[in-house]
Amino acid sequence: MGKVIVVTSGKGGVGKTTSTANLGTALALLGKTVVVVDADVGLRNLDIVMGLESRIVYTSMDVIEKQCELSKALVRDRRVDGLMLLAASQKNNKDDIQPEQMKAICDKLRTAHDFVLVDSPAGIERGFSNASAGADEAIVVTTPDVSAIRDADRIIGLLQNARIEPINLVLNRFSPELVGNGSMMDQADVLDILNINLIGVVPEDSGVITSTNRGIPLVYEDGSPGAQAYMRIARRLTGQRIPIHDFEQKGLFSNILNWFTRKR
């Protein structure tokens, strides 16, 4: 029996879809069977980030309307074994799906796969309740800025009300340089406010943009810091204990300070 994990954030643009695509791919690379589900009905994106947009025939809407079997609607990713995508319908909107229908799909998917990752839309309305309806666990993605953190806080409250546990935090787009010169919140500040388990820190990585545009999730290229961060999170999701990487060690601030003090 697999786990259903909703990937959510409240605020848009913090990296839910990128995180879903990369964690799904990373888990598959680790040998797990994974379905990534796009719950952003009407504004689907996960297919593009996964590079599978040209191969979608059926969507979750067709499954709900009984136009096709669930297994037919799953798009297999040919680059790695055990990875599938269930796309959202682009022509419907979020109110066309009921939370119970999403839950039924998730429950069916979990019987045959190790992980079901549901990519939630931004917001706290129907799209969010659809995405979280079938979830056992949640991953909350946030960036270290106050507006994203307040929205994450709101979402955590809603997830707790829905008894979805554990709730793990991914701190995305983290910039050691900006933390070093004091213009970005550090990890401790974020955790002090949100007070949930941190499952990983993903550094700001310009490779994300190119990988999104090419439809090749970052984790296929081992070298980049972002890819390594997502691989570590995937390992933690499979139960491995890996310490949180400390990106703050090589802060620009201390480097500049070192340079100054050496010079005089």
């Binding site: 806080d153 709101r154 409250g157 002090d192 201390s254 300070l257 100054f260 005089r264």
Partner: protein
């Protein structure tokens, strides 16, 4: 963001020691010591420029500070720059005064009052309401969260959201938090918003209605 009063920054022309609005020179000295001890490298022999963000330090105090920097850390002060516009002092509530010692005792009998313990953090968008008595929060009240009580409110964490004590009109109600950075305070029919970018001061604080009919926030000393 460990130190809200003093920051060391490296700019193109060298090191700057930034001093933000504060209460006393003792507070500034303690903050400087904390900031410098955070550096794992000695600053001996370097020079700094002091940037005063508000004209709160007197000239002789600046001189004293400069000589202390020289003596203790071997830091030469190469200049002092004071921000022209006085910035509002960092108090929890904008139109009130910040008092360090507690003066009056307006405590009513709280003997027969009910209280409710909330064993978790109040997150953004959540409201905890208890008109029958006082609320004790074993956690934070985050930005966007709200606590309301007929009696007092005690937050055993950081108060970042809004708190409304004495919601049935009891003006003797108080709001106490271990770290105080609220968006909005209300006691009875008195409302106060916070100043911009309020940072916790590192000690427990209490808000109550003071003698001049405004909500005052001060260091919490035992009742």
């Amino acid at each position: 963001m460990a130190n809200s009063i003093v920051a060391l920054r490296a700019y193109g022309d060298g090191l700057h020691l930034i001093i933000r609005p504060h209460l006393s020179i003792a507070e500034v000295e303690a903050a400087i010591q904390q900031e410098i001890s955070r550096m794992n490298r000695s600053l001996a022999g370097t020079s700094v420029q002091i940037d005063l963000k508000s004209p709160t330090l007197k000239e002789e105090e600046i001189e004293l500070l400069s000589s202390k920097l020289q003596e203790t850390y071997d830091l030469t002060v190469r200049g002092v720059e004071v921000a022209d516009e006085p910035i509002a002092p960092p108090i929890a509530a904008a139109p009130t005064t910040h008092i360090i010692s507690q003066t009056t005792d307006t405590r009513p009998s709280r003997d027969s009052e009910l209280s409710r313990i909330v064993p978790n953090t109040i997150r953004s968008g959540q409201t905890e309401e208890f008109p029958q008595g006082s609320l004790i929060i074993y956690g934070d009240v985050n930005s966007g969260g709200e606590v309301k009580a007929g009696g007092d409110i005690v937050v055993l964490g950081t108060l970042r959201g809004s708190a409304y004590a004495g919601m049935n009109g009891r003006l003797s109600a108080v709001i106490i938090a271990m770290d105080f950075a609220p968006l909005k305070l209300q006691i009875g029919n008195y409302v106060n918003r916070s100043s911009v970018n309020q940072q916790p001061r590192g000690y427990p604080e209490i808000a109550r209605i003071g003698a001049e009919d405004v909500i005052i926030v001060e260091k919490f000393v035992k009742f």
